[in-house]
């Protein structure tokens, strides 16, 4: 069982959360035509890493907040969790 440490509520069973996909920031200049490839990358292409992945989680059966986690995609060990503001 994976335990996830919600930065607001503390450690809970993964069943309380919804996975939100790997962290992938939006292209910075959405109107720049040169950013088409960046949008394809943002929308579809994935790192799909084997290793520690930075990813979104949503505490749906708890505080209802989105946050980031660094989780190993094979051992499932969650190394860190934090709010997006703290990631900047």
């Amino acid at each position: 069982m994976i335990l996830i440490d919600c930065p607001n509520c503390g450690e809970r069973n993964v069943a309380e959360f919804r996975f939100g996909g790997e962290y992938n920031p939006r292209p910075q200049n959405p109107d720049d035509p040169a950013s088409d490839a960046a949008w394809v990358d943002y929308l579809y292409l994935k790192e799909n890493k084997l290793g520690v992945q930075k990813e979104w989680w949503y505490h749906r059966a708890g505080c209802g907040l989105w946050f980031l986690a660094e989780r190993h995609t094979k051992s499932h060990a969650v190394e860190k969790t934090y709010f997006w503001e703290a990631a900047k």
């Binding site: 996909g21 579809y44 799909n48 990813e55 051992s75």
Partner: protein, 412 residues
Amino acid sequence: MSLKLLKQGLNGSKSLTPMWREQPIKDRYDVVIIGGGVHGLATAYYLAKNHGITDVAILEKRYIGRGGSGRNTTIVRSNYLTPEGILFYDESLKLYEDLSQDFDFNIMFSQRGHLTLAHTDASLRTMRWRAEVNQLQGVDSRVISPDEIKELVPFMDLSDHPRFPVMGALYHPPGGVVRHDAVVWGYAHGADKRGVHIHQLTEVTGIDVEQNKVVAVQTNRGRIKTGTVVNATAGWCTLIADMAGVKLPVETRPLQAAVSEPLKPFLDTVIVSGTLHFYLSQSDRGEIVTGASVDPYTSYSMDATLGFAEGLAGHILELFPSLGKVRLMRQWAGLCDMTPDYSPIMGFTPVEGFLVDVGWGTYGFKTGPVSGKRMAELIATNRTPDLIAPFKYDRFFEGRLVGEKGAASVGR
């Protein structure tokens, strides 16, 4: 065949020959296929059989059939939603119908019929839509009422007691199940017989690209020169594509399945419920073979989870309360390469000589034959066959996604 079996039985199987041989590894092949699943093996088989291309190696990290090809729940059907999807899946189903003959080896294809249950008005509507598109493409598929379902599956609770009562079903008579190991071994045997080399315990660790062209692959057994590499590694495909510098729209998710202890025969169709998230069939040995949706987060782990077994059992009991005392015997997981439009990615990539046959998600066992046949054609002619053109890698850059989610997300 049966006389041969009897003889083998009496002489202690002494004269049995292996289905494929271990060959010395060469330092150069015309075509190198990475991944010894049904897709890689079928591609090699049709390269040799249909096009006479036999200087081909399959490189498999562990043993053939170790991936999804040996872990799936063996459902074959062609009642998909999009016209391009239906044509493609139907060619595979037709190939499966002839495969035992083709191999001279029984793959035990049982076309017992496939039922997708509707529990809501919305899903009934999608099924009518699917039935119409299916019929237009000549696929035997129709919506049936609960009375007709009762005839086919008398054990299922069709009353209004379940939380989501059954309102109808999409019935697809030619759908069914196949023995997956037999398909893997049949392709391996046929490819080996025609000169293809199957190298197990051979892991690809790098791909050498020069001036945007593939020139070799690196393995734990040395460097192998080649101009054509096929990535057929399903759940691991991103790791291989990374080696060639190609980024894929793929997310790896585990898909779990389970079998029960053997029961007397009571179920002779495949049952799928999208709303309750489960599907089941009964194997020739009497076990209930069952599964659900992919795990709710990305992962490269093939461990089974208790949460999955609990959820699955609860859903099955909604419709089959009589199975309450039946014990689960085994549970396992395989890795699935999920794409955003629930459709595969086949053919050329921006790197010359680096081909992909990936994105098989939870539905790629049934497409082994057609993918192998068409990827072989693509390699032999250096041009994309029309049937698989909708699934090209470039579609993500052109905004031409295929949109098969409605028919592929739970039904397998």
